[in-house]
């Protein structure tokens, strides 16, 4: 069933792409067939797989880092109006800053390895997750909180037994968003001091070599990378939120 839907979706996208490509009829949008052919040879030549793996690692690391820091912080802020009032302006001032302009400073602190790239993606994801989890935690039904408070729960237990599980769906939504965003921003995060990664690959082929079939091959790999991670999140949801799927 699900597999059929995926197949259908892929086919539909390929058809739309083909139509667009034929309509536009320019090098900047090669046909899917040309792209898939190039993709095949690039994968066989071996390098694209390495770009893919480098990106996979960066996306995983930064997403994990962002969820593990932003989700608890969001729950904390959602839990306390006082804290939220205090920190909201900070969030609202920092969120709109394009994190890319901070690259030089990040480089200064974290060198030129994988870390600065992970940090940049992390910074982009952090606020997105924070805002979502915070808003969801703040919207929790007060009766629920009162009833658990009456069982003796203080702040910490409320956090553990109410805010944490209640925020799980929001965290999963945040994860789904993050996966998409993280892959997409590889394109800006993999432009410095690296020669590995789908972002680098797409930039080089698209912006320097004008090898559009290869560039779109890289884009397809990004799609697949995102798709794979989404399935991971769905799996996680089925494990973590059984009450949703059961009812």
């Amino acid at each position: 069933m699900k597999r059929r839907d995926l197949l259908l979706a892929t086919l539909a996208l390929l058809v739309i792409w083909e139509i667009l490509a034929v309509l536009i009829h320019r090098q900047i949008l090669p046909t899917p067939l040309a792209v898939l052919a190039t993709l095949g040879t690039e994968l066989l030549r071996g390098n694209l797989t390495l770009h893919f793996l480098a990106s996979l690692w960066r996306v995983l690391a930064s997403t994990l880092l962002a969820v593990l820091t932003a989700a608890p912080a969001g729950m904390l802020l959602g839990q306390s109006k006082r804290l939220n009032d205090l920190f909201s302006p900070v969030i609202y001032l920092l969120y709109p800053i394009p994190k890319v302009v901070l690259v030089p400073i990040v480089l200064l602190f974290f060198g030129i390895g994988d870390l600065p790239k992970i940090i940049i993606i992390f910074l982009i994801l952090f606020f997105q997750i924070l805002v979502l989890v915070r808003d969801s935690a703040a919207g929790l039904r007060p009766e629920l909180i009162q009833s658990v408070r009456s069982l003796g729960a203080g702040r910490r237990a409320l956090f553990r037994f109410v805010y944490l599980p209640a925020s799980l769906p929001a965290v999963l939504t945040a994860l789904r968003q993050s996966v998409g965003t993280a892959v997409a921003v590889l394109y800006v995060a993999e432009l410095f001091a690296t020669q590995r990664g789908l972002g680098y690959y797409i930039y080089l082929n698209g912006s320097t070599l004008f090898n559009y079939p290869a560039m779109y091959g890289g884009v397809v790999m990004m799609s697949l990378l995102g798709l794979g991670l989404y399935f991971g999140v769905d799996l996680l949801e089925r494990r973590l939120c059984p009450w949703k799927t059961k009812s």
Binding site: V148, R149, S150, V162, S247
Partner: protein, 253 residues
Amino acid sequence: MIELDRVTFGYVRSAPIFQDFSWKAGRGEAWAVLGASGCGKSTLLSLLAGLVFPSSGQVCIDGLPLTRPRPQTGLIIQDYGLLPWSTVRENVELGLRVRNFYGPDGTHAPRSYDSSLNVNPWLDRLGILEVAGQYPGQISGGQRQRTAIARTLALRPDLLLMDEPFSSLDAPTREGLQRLMLELWAEQALTMVIVTHSIEEAAVLGQRILLLKKAPNRVAHVIENPGAADVHFRESDAYVRRVRALREQMEGA
């Protein structure tokens, strides 16, 4: 055990529900609270549970002014407050888990308590053992209510506050649970405050009955009902007379 000293309370931007309201209840007493819908019964329990606080006056339990929920107080709220993401069993274990989470610190959990999570006896007693693996969204209204009761009883409170705890239960189940409450009360020197809309239930369970009137409540109307808690009281003439008298007082209110 319970002492309300000139308590005033009203919800924000609303008229006060209690004004200079004083009331006392001794340890081991069984109280029923009767009153028209919207008169402030649930609010009274919230005050006793330490979930809301008076704007003036004081609520003392065991001589101590209440500043936060007391770990030995059990509260069953009107709409259950079950965690939708936990099974019936997990919901019933919740209070025990909270205690184990803090350990016997005296603030969140009593200084001494049984740390076992064995809730099967309670699930069984309340007839929800067979739905123990289901989520609140997958059980009937009465099963939800019994889950909330089991959750609170599993904590073996010394003060039990119940907000219409049997309202969704059929008569036989309801009477079975009323008997259970009376047993627990007799066994454990429990202090009970049960809010009910059923005059009959008040007459059966409440040694003393607190009658609330239209808000703002300024005085506690207390009716003595010494016959309650006797197994045979329900069949006596005194019971029928008491019920009739209570009804008249409520309709007069």
